[in-house]
């Protein structure tokens, strides 16, 4: 909601009260937890060869998007996101609660929807790659594009679909800008609640990794991981990421709002900070991450790090350099397990951090290179790191509620 009659003086404590994850590993929190501890990774090395992708695990979309008509209006990324958003609302216990949903803010981080690959290819063939009179392009687009495809591609229509399907209608903002958008969605939503401008928000993102049009975009600058899946920490010389598929949404709200409705927290979202290093000189990413770590506030407890490192260089090597100054801290890379889900990677990290804090343990390492170490202590603080493959650095501090 925008009517913000007062801005409170003391920051309001903000809780994560709902987590919805639908990824290559499944769609329930238990399924994720079990898979993480079993070291399971769902990866496809052949279907898009030589590129490696993490396919979305099959789900019954009907359970969260009951109307087939709604499903047909969405491309895969929107279905994944609308589905995961529904899981988050269920998890927070507010699905269908019209009073809460009508004043709930929503900040979605989104890219764009998939192209119609057949239409694109048909046009390129028909017009002999742009060398024929331009009328052919117009004619084919007029005849071949489905009118609704545009809406299934539009960035802000993931939020639009969540509003339509789940009734989240307080506000709807869509941030774009790859990895940083996912971090900024959390940062702005937290700032709004902490300052009293808002009570409750749905934040998150969705990504479909099984997309040749996206592989094309990243292939231009050789960002795609080829041939064989490896841990992101082992890609020093074999730079790249495997596109991943995930919807990751969280419900965050003021402690007072949660307590009033009897909601239990997974964790506290204490702080989210972000910057954009210029990346013109080596070391600038490492330096930016060090500064953000200091800005997070006291990170002194039994802590762990959940990193969204992509495996693309030099960003991941620079992040490793930063992590080297926190050698005693257990690190987990979501990029190894889920692949790279761009806008969704940071919300995914937040969701897993909330889950780990609430379950009182960090999930198992999944890294043959030995960079990830075991953690036996109960994590009370988890720092989520997001370093964009090209731009953007962000961090969040997720803490146990005591």
């Amino acid at each position: 909601m925008a009517d913000t009659p007062t801005t409170s003086a003391a920051p309001v404590e903000v809780w994560i009260t709902g987590v919805g994850l639908a990824t290559s590993l499944g769609d329930s929190l238990d399924a994720h937890w079990d898979a993480l501890n079993a070291g399971r990774i769902n990866v496809d090395e052949t279907g898009y060869a030589p590129y490696v992708v993490h396919p979305f695990a099959p789900v019954s979309f009907d359970t969260q998007i009951p109307k087939k008509g709604d499903q047909r209006q969405m491309e895969a990324w929107q279905r994944i996101g609308t589905y995961a958003a529904g899981l988050a609302l269920d998890s927070a216990g507010i699905k269908g609660d019209k009073d809460v949903l009508a004043k709930m803010d929503m900040i979605v981080a989104a890219g764009g929807g998939e192209r119609d690959l057949v239409v694109d290819a048909g046009i390129l063939n028909a017009e002999n790659y742009g060398t024929t009179p331009p009328g052919i392009l117009n004619e084919r687009l007029m005849n071949d594009l489905r009118p609704t495809l545009f809406l299934a591609q539009l960035s802000n229509l993931l939020a639009g679909n969540i509003a339509i399907v789940h009734g989240v209608t307080g506000s709807s903002r869509t941030f774009m800008g790859e990895e940083a958008a996912g971090c900024d969605a959390a940062r702005i939503a937290l700032a709004r609640i902490a300052s009293g401008q808002s009570d409750i928000a749905l934040i998150g993102a969705a990504h479909n990794g099984e997309r040749k049009d996206l592989l094309l975009l990243y292939e231009f600058d050789n960002f795609n991981l080829r041939n064989k899946h490896t841990p992101v920490w082992a890609r020093d010389t074999d730079s790249g990421f495997a596109l991943g598929s995930a919807g990751a949404f969280l419900v965050i709200e003021s402690r007072a709002h949660a307590e009033k409705r009897g909601a239990k927290p997974f964790a506290r979202l204490t702080s989210v900070v972000a910057d954009q290093a210029r990346r013109k000189e080596p070391g600038q990413i490492t330096e930016a991450l060090s500064t953000l770590w200091d800005e997070l506030g006291a990170v002194t407890g039994a802590r762990a790090i959940i990193s969204g490192a992509t495996g693309a260089q030099p960003a991941t090597s620079e992040e490793k350099d930063f992590l080297a100054s926190h050698k005693d801290v257990a690190v987990r890379a979501t990029g190894t397990i889920f692949g790279h889900t761009l806008d969704a990677q940071f919300p995914l990290g937040l969701g897993l951090a909330a889950l780990a804090v609430s379950r009182g343990e960090l999930f198992a390492p999944n890294d043959a290179s030995g960079f990830e170490i075991a953690m036996t202590d109960k994590p009370t603080q988890i720092v989520v790191i997001g370093t964009g493959h090209w731009r953007g650095e962000g961090m969040a501090l997720v803490e146990a509620v005591t």
């Binding site: 913000t4 742009g130 331009p134 774009m176 049009d213």
Partner: protein
Amino acid sequence: MTATRDKFGRPIVVVTGMGVVTSLGAGKTDNWTKLTAGESGIRTITRFSTDGMKTTIAGAVDFLNVDPMTSAALSERLADMVAEEAIAQSNIGTRGDFPGPLFLAVSPIEIEWPQRQAVARAAGANAGIDYDVLLRASGGGQFAPYHRRFQFASVADHLADTYGTNGSPISLSTACASGATAIQLGVESIRRGETDAALCVGTEGSINPEAMIRFSLLSALSMQNADPKTASKPFSKNRDGFVMAEGAGALVLESMEAAIARGAKILGILAGCGELTDSFHRTRSSPDGKPIIGCVRNALADAGMVSDQIDYINAHGTATPENDKMEYLGISTVFGERAKQIPVSSNKSMVGHTISAAGAVEAVFSLLTLEHQRIPPTINYLVPDPAIPFDVVPNTARDARVTAVMSNSFGFGGQNASLILTREPV
């Protein structure tokens, strides 16, 4: 001592710099002169062939040379121009070091046809093209600049680098409300005390065949191609859709306290922002108008004002049959009988619909209305729609006492946002 906090105790947010470019021209002076002269920037498209297209007109910005031409590159260039104009007027910070964050409204970015065609050509003749063939031809670095160009963050990255804004720049889309949302994000960050200043920009450079055809397939565009300048007819009975247009608007927002402290000239106050989401349909408004009504009321409540205090409405006024009807329903519900007296005009009759930029462009025009005490008209208003009895300031600009303006933006995906701008703090 001037009070620098509003009645709710929040820092008052002021505007100290503005920049605008539309199909009418570049800069505030040129735009304001033409806008108040009732000129149209809508023309027959010459940028590309419109063979076979149902709509062949647009408010394209064709007086710039952008090479290589892409919608992303043009959006970046337009944003650059308005940011420079706004920062220069504000005289804030030092060159390349803007003391606050960037909020950028920009259309979704994707690979465009000329680039797709270039990759197809590189794949070699006689190959049956599909995405596998494109993928094999796309690597190796020869197309590396395409990666950067078609990142969603690329326009904001350029601005952040050029103007030295602080922190992580935010690129956003709330469809046709994006420009207003960018301003709202800036207002909120200043009110939270995170920053004393913010650079809020909306930009749109998307006149390309596929973008036109997508809107055309949704039956959203005017097809009155024969006489481009009269095609955009907001609130007229013979309106038949919006005219796509390009442009950009920028505001430098500051806390009033900071602006006064550095002796900056205050151009206006950002008194209130409202938003409310419509869950009715992907492209249509709820028939009861409740989300629009709620959005307008939220903006008034946020400003601590009542509708009687608003003396001009800068309408969304796209000229689609649906929008204009719903806008009247929303405004008349909140404003009551006053809805028929208060001036309500649509800049889109002249500059077309600058989509992602519209909220920012129209905020600039609203501030110029306050500055000049002159209301730009709704042109092409020859056949009034009896169902929309607004005073649309028909065809000719009007001098008027204007102390508070409401600027509305309503978009696809249920996106509604309203801003309230005033001459003095309220």
